[in-house]
């Protein structure tokens, strides 16, 4: 904005930028330090920097046996839940948003839109117990399917809201041209509209993956043992006896890494997707 490189404003600006970056990076770095410190340093002689780097906490996470019933198993669960929920949410949600935006507006559409959107706006805590009973009646308790269904149902409102703004932006001429050529609504949607709004779907997918991966309350309410996901394991680290800060830190770092990588590599698409649609109001 300003031509002068070293004006007071630029100095101020870079100071703040560095401060912001430091405030983000330092806690994560400290968490990493906590995961490699020897036990004694954690409780009795706390120092900021670790004197040695012990990798025991990580070793116990990545042992072979944990692949079947330990932490890697829960990691696998979390990946499956996140991927499947995202695929289905983005697919169904976009379709639904398109349908809602192209149908003739009336009371029914307004009600349906309201029903779908309202889900975003109440505390999940309200539905935990009824959810549990519902899944029990469907014989889906303690399965990944239950968690996936619940994640889809919380992801759909977000998808519908985001994609509706995208679909409102799509030039009508494109669709009309395709319809004039004799294509049905479905063909128009899948062949013409979807390719144009891919960036929006990508942005939604990224947000959905993060939401599902990190979701704790519903997953913990539905899964008692076999279908545990990562957040449940992390929240469960505090026992009556005390806390294994080092193990907890290691687990947190391992849980963070995939999502951080996703954000690092897709933030471009995220911003592009959001710019194109949602923030235009």
């Amino acid at each position: 904005m300003n031509e002068k490189k070293f004006s007071a404003y630029q100095i101020f600006r870079w100071l703040i930028i560095l401060l912001a970056v430091a405030l983000v990076v330092l806690p994560i770095l400290f968490l990493f330090f906590t995961s490699v410190k020897p036990q004694s340093e954690l409780y009795n002689n706390p120092k900021i920097l670790p004197t040695q780097f012990l990798w025991d906490n990580y070793k116990s996470i990545f042992t072979f046996e944990s692949l079947n019933s330990g932490i890697l198993f829960y990691l696998k669960n979390t990946i499956i839940v996140a991927l499947v929920s995202t695929l289905i949410t983005v697919a169904f949600g976009s379709m639904c948003a398109y349908g809602l935006s192209r149908l003739r507006k009336g009371k029914l559409i307004a009600i349906i839109t309201a029903v779908i959107v309202v889900v975003r706006f109440y505390p999940k805590i309200t539905v935990i117990l009824p959810y549990f009973l519902l899944m029990k009646n469907l014989h889906l308790l303690d399965t990944l399917s239950a968690i996936i269904i619940s994640h889809i149902s919380i992801g759909i409102p977000l998808t519908v809201m985001m994609m509706t703004t995208f679909y409102n932006e799509v030039p009508k001429e494109m669709e009309e041209a395709s319809r004039v050529d004799g294509a049905s609504v479905l063909t128009t949607y899948f062949r013409v509209v979807v390719p144009t709004t891919l960036s929006g779907m990508a942005a939604t997918a990224i947000l959905m993956v993060m939401t599902s991966w990190n979701e704790f309350l519903l997953a913990s309410g539905l899964a008692s043992n076999h279908a545990k996901t990562f957040p449940i394991v992390i929240a469960g680290f505090v026992t009556d006896k005390g806390t294994d800060w080092g193990g907890m830190a290691a687990l947190s770092i391992v849980a963070m890494v995939p999502m951080v990588l996703i954000v690092l590599f897709t933030q471009k698409y995220l911003i592009r997707g959001l710019t194109a649609g949602a923030v235009k109001g």
Binding site: M1, V24, C96, V115, I149, S184, V279, G281
Partner: protein, 293 residues
């Protein structure tokens, strides 16, 4: 656009799958909890819901502990949102630029948003530990005696707010960045040629033009911070005492710890109506702002 009957059939077909899932997986449990809130079901007294009663709502609206937790939630919401909006906006503005370094920095600042709330809460729990936590260690390195963050009722709320804004400023930062990118450069150039100061440009151009973004952030964050659960669960579990017992923790304790199920449902519906009301006000405001454009 005119749609034929056949078209409408297909459009409904597109809508159907999502709608079915929402009805089954959300509407049904929600209605169930509504019905239960009008009956009497506390595990201590019976295994199944009984009868019909308005007592649960009466109790919710007069219970000082519930009202106190509503107050705590509102305080939490207002404080976090103000800080998030201001910081997010300022950071988005300061980060405007297209050099590689800025892009890298921007990416880094987006990281906290991708971390699970429970991980964030746990992390800050480790950091806020009075004796071995990073925060107090660093404070004592500069000679300040850090407070008992998680054990002192006066400081626990501050700790919770810090943990929450650390995570969610990146959300408002993201939205504001996307919004500011779409502000046309020539507008800004024109203003500068006209002699506007930096602050003037911010006030007259940036703030109004990012209003949709502000509203979007408000809509999401008001609800999310009012109903915050994951972070509080891992950071303080509502303690010490009741100093961080936000509404979700209160309902959780009543419903899943003491199993006063219908009372918990009634409390949940009361806060939901409150939240809907706030949202309704916001949406009205949004419509008015949009119409004035």
């Amino acid at each position: 656009m005119l749609t034929t009957k056949k078209d409408r059939k297909y459009l409904w077909l597109l809508v159907a799958p999502a709608l079915i899932i929402i009805l089954v997986a959300q509407a049904y449990p929600l209605m169930y909890s509504l019905v239960v809130s009008f009956r009497e079901w506390a595990l201590a007294t019976s295994d199944v819901p009984l009868g019909f009663t308005l007592d649960n709502y009466a109790k919710a609206l007069t219970n000082p502990n519930f009202l106190y937790s509503c107050k705590i939630s509102l305080q939490f919401m207002v404080r976090t949102i103000i800080i998030e909006l201001v910081c997010g906006f300022s950071l988005a503005y300061l980060f405007i630029g297209s050099s590689k370094i800025i892009k890298l920095c921007r990416t880094v600042v987006l990281i906290p948003m991708s971390i699970a709330s429970v991980v964030c809460g746990n992390m800050w729990r480790i950091f806020f530990d009075t004796n071995t936590g990073m925060v107090n260690l660093m404070l004592s390195a500069v000679g300040i005696q850090g407070p008992n963050w998680l054990g002192d009722p006066n400081w626990a709320m501050t700790a919770a707010i810090i943990s929450s804004i650390w995570q969610y400023v990146s959300f408002s930062f993201l939205i504001y960045t996307a919004s500011m990118t779409s502000i046309p450069d020539d507008l800004i150039e024109a203003a500068k040629i006209d002699g506007a100061t930096r602050l003037g440009i911010i006030r007259k151009i940036f703030i109004p033009m990012t209003m949709p973004a502000t509203l979007l952030i408000l809509i999401f964050r008001i609800i999310d911070s009012f109903f915050v659960f994951d972070q509080i669960y891992t950071l303080t579990f509502g303690g010490p005492g009741t100093s961080t017992q936000v509404v979700s923790m209160y309902i959780y304790n009543q419903g899943l710890k003491y199993y006063n199920i219908s009372y918990a449902s009634a409390c949940a519906w009361v806060v939901m109506i409150l939240a809907f009301f706030i949202c309704g006000l916001l949406l009205q405001f949004k419509k008015r702002v949009e119409n004035s454009f």
